[in-house]
Symmetry: C2
Subunit: 388 residues, 2 copies
């Protein structure tokens, strides 16, 4: 801390209310400390859900071509539509939402799922109630805290008083007991779930849609890992009849195309989805996108379009297969050791049960003994000694 | 409106409180209507502050090279640091903030200035007070409305009750009378101002910094057009002594490098800037960037680095010169017609006085008679018959 002038602007209570570190920077700090202690360690980084495999040439060539075109009078483009290029929006609708009634104008191209989550938080304001899967991707909770909807954190459990945590564990087949789940305005639901790797079945999602409809809730459905689904689980919430009246879907090129650094995602906001007063939410989301965002990079969008070409998509399925094979090796190894292991089948990661240890203890032990960076699978519960 | 199920989620009062259309989509709607009436019109679009000139090849080649590298095992990169690549952060600090004490770790690379404005709004929460220049770029006001700090709109004036509007017009040399300006937590200040084109002098900015310091305010300084400054006006708020204790600066590659579609910007958050409790704001901004954003595209960042190379920067100065020459022609033409015209010298646009007409009236007349799309220069005041 530098001594000197302080402004008179108070720190917002929401920022004060955030728990120490966001998960991924926290992992990075521990990783850096490890490297300082062992400077010659050859780290294997399974920490952040990062991609490692090169992007097929047909896709990077499309991006390079788009970049070069920006040097020509004919090919130069400035601001594009904030919602994304219509050709890409239509291609996304056709590739991922065929026969689900999703139209190009309901697709908003973005710079990634995490950014879209925050834009929705801005849109919805501070007076709505929120439910999340437990465990779940930390951005849902942390962005809920930032916009002031989480309530106070309870030190014993690490949970926020105003957030409904829907237990999704092996005992309940990774799906919440909806008969005991209180009504909330918003339900964050991620499938395949991050971190458990569990994909909800058609039957489960149908229950979820019915539940949201009965309660007048909005499901914010995160399908960022949908292309890793191997079994018959739905790849989109919009496979469920009536979902367009109760759900938006956030998704991404990051994990299926290796675009984690290229930055490209999308959100589907159905025309049918409306507030209690009947006003279409798509209109407000469009307003947020125009005011708080200016569209994804036109080069990234050219790459996205190439991903959805027949040849690009085919090439990517090889990459997806490679990650799946890795996950299978990990799964089989832990299973052969007699450990309880989940995920892997519908996700490129696994979730392993280490009885008797907290998540961060397991993280540290693996890092110190093997130079492998993992993700603590259940950060919240580690506080009361849970053991994933 | 589609009849059917409504959720029970109320529309937030902040979204309700936004005035009809965000300026730029509104311009686009009027432009589209014009094209429908006159399908063969050859429009000249001066509406959104868009760029038209190709990007120098040395820069697009760097982006193409980065794209191709993503197809190789050696060159592939996934998630980068959320704050941007350190080489680019350091290059920005050295190119734009030499001798101002700004360090690379105080630079946060982003996907554009408009997005950074919203991230700051999220950070600051709803309990701070806001001042804006009048007239000013509409995103400051609209994002203030979205986070719930604007108060009610007054129908007669089109202004929001809780925002302090600092008159910046020819009569006061485009700089507010600070002796009568009430204290606010946040002061949005854009120089060169959009839309007037006026750049604040060193003396004026020194006054502003003193004012902020005395009041404990934070200046959010927007220097997106700084590279267009021709005279001795500061190109950064950090040229003013003490500014690091009271200001952040938001800037962009959009207008100086033609990156409007490529999407790249940055924000400087000085380590010295703190809340009233002494806590460094940079820590919270870093948390927002990690939680609500995942970094700018690595391809765009490679382009940004090439912009700041000696050869890249030299090539861009030719492009900047071209836009300046255009602005000069426009300026001289209107001046020769005896009209009051402002801007042009330190900005690639001009601001013209049409006595007796409202801004939208002038916009419509120019569009209908000449097929040229402009920007209504003073949308708020047009309601009470102001005439820019």
């Amino acid at each position: 801390m530098i001594a000197g002038h302080c402004t008179k602007v108070p720190r917002g209570i929401n920022m004060e209310n955030l728990q120490s570190g966001y998960l991924f920077p926290e992992i990075f700090i521990r990783e850096s400390n490890h490297v300082q202690k062992k400077p010659h360690a050859r780290l294997i980084k399974l920490g952040v859900g990062n991609t490692t495999e090169p992007i097929p040439d047909i896709i990077t060539s499309a991006m390079a071509e788009q970049a070069h075109a920006l040097s020509t009078g004919q090919g130069y483009r400035g601001y594009g539509p904030e919602q994304g290029n219509m050709a890409l929006r239509i291609a996304i609708a056709e590739k991922f939402y065929q026969n689900m009634g999703v139209k190009g104008n309901e697709i908003f191209v973005s710079d990634g799922a995490q950014c879209d989550i925050s834009r929705f938080q801005m849109l919805l304001g501070s007076n709505v109630s929120v439910a999340v899967q437990d465990p779940s991707f930390p951005a849902y909770i942390d962005s809920t805290v930032i916009v002031g909807r989480a309530g106070k954190v309870q030190m014993e459990t690490g949970k926020y008083g105003s957030i409904v945590y829907m237990k999704c564990e092996p005992e309940n087949n990774f799906f919440p007991d909806l008969t005991t789940t209180p009504r909330t305005d918003i339900i964050f639901f991620c499938s395949p779930n991050n971190p458990t790797g569990s994909a909800a079945s058609w039957h489960q999602l149908n229950q979820l849609v019915e539940f949201a409809k009965a309660n007048g809730s909005i499901i914010i459905y995160d399908s960022a890992y949908a292309t890793y689904i191997t079994d018959e689980s739905p790849r989109s919430i919009f496979e469920i009849p009536g979902a367009k009246e109760v759900a938006i879907e956030i998704s991404s090129f990051s994990k299926f195309a290796g675009f984690t650094g290229v930055r490209l995602g999308w959100t589907v906001v159905p025309e049918e989805l409306s507030y209690s007063n009947g006003y279409p939410i798509i209109n407000d989301y469009n307003r947020i996108v125009c005011t708080c965002f200016n569209g994804a990079s036109n080069i990234s969008q050219a790459g996205g379009l190439a991903c959805l070409s027949a040849e690009g998509y085919q090439a990517l399925s090889t990459t997806v297969g490679y990650y799946k094979e890795n996950a299978k090796i990990l799964f089989d190894t832990f299973a052969s050791l007699g450990m309880k292991v989940y995920g892997g089948r519908n996700a490129p990661y696994i979730w392993v049960h280490f009885p008797g240890f907290s998540s961060w203890d397991v993280f540290s032990e693996i890092l110190e003994n093997t130079d492998i960076v993992t993700v603590p699978g259940n950060r919240i519960w580690s506080r009361r000694g849970r053991v994933y």
